[in-house]
Amino acid sequence: MIDDTSPPPDVLPPRFAQWFAGRGWTPRRHQLDLLALARQGQSVLLDAPTGAGKTLAGFLPSLVDLAEGQPPKGLHTLYISPLKALAVDVARNLDMPAAEMELGLRIETRTGDTPAHKRTRQMERPPHILLTTPEQLALLLAHREAEEFFSGLKRVVLDELHALVTSKRGDLLALGLARLHRLAPGLSAIGLSATVREPDDLRRFLVPQQLRPDGTIGPAMAAHVVVRGGARADIRIMEAANRLPLAGHTALHAMKPIYNAILAHRTTLIFVNTRMQAEFVFQELWRINDEGLPIALHHGSLDVGQRRKVEAAMTSGALRAVVCTSTLDLGIDWGDVDLVVNVGAPKGASRLMQRIGRSNHRLDEASQAILVPANRFEVMECRAALEAVADAAQDTPEARKGALDVLAQHVLGMACAGGFSIDALYAEVVSAAPYGWLPRETFDRVVRFVATGGYALATYERFAKIREGKDGLWRVANPRIAQQYRMNVGTIVEEPMLKVRLGRIRRSAPGSPGAPVRGGRVLGEVEEYFAETLLPGDTFVFAGEVLRFEAIAETDVIVSRTSPGTDPKIPSYAGGKFPLSTFLAERVRGMLADPAVWGRIPGGVADWLETQRRKSVLPRRDEMLVETFPRSGRYYMVAYPFEGRLAHQTLGMLITRRLERARLKPLGFVVTDYGLGVWGLADIGAALAQGRLTLDGLFSQDMLGDDLEEWLAESSLMKRTFRHCAIIAGLIERRFPGQEKTGRQVTMSTDLVYDVLRRHEPDHVLLEATRADAATGLLDLRRLADCLSRIRGRIVHKNLDHVSPLAVSVLLEIGREAVYGEAAEEILAQAEAQLFEEALA
């Protein structure tokens, strides 16, 4: 770390000093520190809050290099951003200093939108600075000319590194970076990052790790420039006029105050956690928009053209507010935002700080933010997040273990690039920090997988995709395989999406199924699994209006408009993408256990918790409470692990299996970020009292053994995870637009492949990749495992006559949330029973 008290390094050439002065700016300390380090050829992590001038800092060393003498012929600096829009935005911002100082540089972007002729030209005559994305880097590295193209590369700048490294895109980037370090030995890397919990993880990410002769990896780290403090945030929790609801995510009570806040500011960004919430808030704000303020909606499912329009209006200052999901989380400068509103719980302290950073892109002014909790649990979570922000505590996730499916994709890419030697590629791969864990044996299995599928039954030799040549280099077997690689590159696997299209159903006779009439406007897209839950006549909110579901026709969801005032019937909340962070959960548990802090929490929370303490129990910070009670002919069990909805969902699946085995006839369960409610026909409380069931047994860690295995065999979540891995690893091809029309119903289902592989080769490398994903992804198994070990011997049981105040909050989600635990066989049996009833009637 740099000592702030020393005089700043004198590294800025006169031309640059004049340029700064001409704009009335003073170079910031961290910009000069980074410049000094980078000019010595060091790799550097710049870890700074938003508004610190990170982008300029990241490019300054390259601009200074390039201003010295004649600019070189080849590519000098490569910039990688997670969003192509950000790459385009940064290119625009970079043009200004380059032009004003007359540096004579060519600065270009390369994204999925770059036309073919421009791509070809970029390869023949590279720009000095190229701005691109991790996927495009992978494609460039798989190019036959990659070696020459990158040979003179001096610097790579990785923007929003904290956001990239948490996903498989980060793995892909790490592998690409390792290759760049090998192709361009003089390369140094600059990482630009928001403040994170473990900056050393990112420092290791930037530089090659050394493989020692004994097979272990020697740590190497980039230098570190830190900017602390930054924008002080002025955050408050919106005071509710009344008590907050016990459950729900709509925050309906807060619409008027939010509207007033919009009126009092220039431009407001309103963040919500899900698309459904975005739709709801947008609609409610327009309902009370008496002033006719320009308020827009932005989320990932809207039509692209629509989104671009909103972004343009935002940048030009034409909007007063935008309701958005995490699509606007990352660093694009959306103009003059002076207020950020976060509706619902923030789910993580670091995410909250990122969002707040969207306002007031200047370090010296405090960011304004309002947190709007939608229910009483959320108000505690907001309070915990607020305290975490005040302590500058971070809850960014742990460093990833590089994924095997991404590695498989990279191996194929390297075979496309002109061949690799297996020893050299292994050394290169483990020099990437996320892959330091990778044993040679596993690497070899991945190479075999890429070549022939890696099956014990080796029958695909003649279909090998890559082959070892006489020179010891592995190359693609034919050009078609390289083509396949290019079509499938990347780690983002979209859920199958269906277009939402206006239309109607033409019926030849009343009651007949009718034929959908299409031809209407496309409003956007929804996930196939969401569309599958809809029945004709169901109403739901989308693109800011209430729509009636008519039918699914091929890849279109046909909808019609409803008359004004129609209420949407389908829940407006489809589950949060981000589960509550472990860190905030711990703080919320601490609050529950400490009555002294209740008074500081608004929204009627103190009374609610006091009642809970009187009627039931409040668990200590390290305990888990389980309540059992009867209610209208059913028996309930509600547990409060506070581990986020994904882990709770997995827990719910496993617990209901166990209850079934104990003949306690569970019927279903519901989860929230805080708790899990199970109901059934048998008295669980009585079973516990009589010792027929113990909570330590029910929640014991061994459920992660056989029970889990058994469930995973059928779990649709596991099958979805497998599908993602299979696509990334190149086992099957992505579906392309247009292809679905002819092949949707008969395309090879990955579920069938999963079943076969699981039965015949359970240790296959692709199943290993799938299990690794399940540990942190949709099933959140690692967190569940940690939770079960945390609560062992610390479960507090309370048998009650009635539902408790805390339990109400969980049970109220029934009907709003999807209810799980319905076995597929059960559904078939019910459908069959209906047929019998008809026959008897």
Partner: protein
Amino acid sequence: MAATTSLAVGPLAFVADACGALVDADERVLLVADLHLEKGSAYAARGMLLPPYDSRATLALLAQAVRRWQPRLVVALGDTLHDRGAAARIAQDDLATLAGLQAGRDWIWLTGNHDPDPVPALGGTVAAELALGGVMLRHEPRPGETGPEIAGHLHPAGKVRLRGRAVRRRCFVSDGRRCVMPAFGTYAGGLNVLDGAFSPLFAGRRFTAHMLGAGRVYAVAGHQLSPD
């Protein structure tokens, strides 16, 4: 409820087995359709190296059905092999398994659009169609057929939606005169029975989908089914 469902086609009373076979228990005849052997290796030839276990998994399932019902005649209703190159790719082990199953019983392969030519290596006899006790057996159902018919080709799958959850399974679809059998092959996909391809065969939704469950078959009325 029994583990099997009775399913009548014209004059014949069959049992629908949850593995996807139809069985005439009195006459000891077993029918299967669309085995699509070597579909995995067909994909492999195109660069998708799917697990090469589909043929043996399909044959293992068939062996179980043969053991369970001890038929004197087995009829496969076409598309036994996924493509013309399949015969050259199929493993000797799998052919041996097949030969073992054929010992002591008659075995008829009907031709399908994927395997229009006889493949001597598979053994048995080859025919385009077969009349079985007044019911025509063929690969592709014939819309103009006036008599009872059992066919394959379409890979029917039914989808049931109840309480916000959807279950999609392979199924027999039948109206008593005609039955389209589910695909038996491990890697064979399914086509929703509400797809237009079925409408010339079954008037309206007056048919029953016999959906394959875990170890049993569920009879579901056509009007209870959902499109994909």
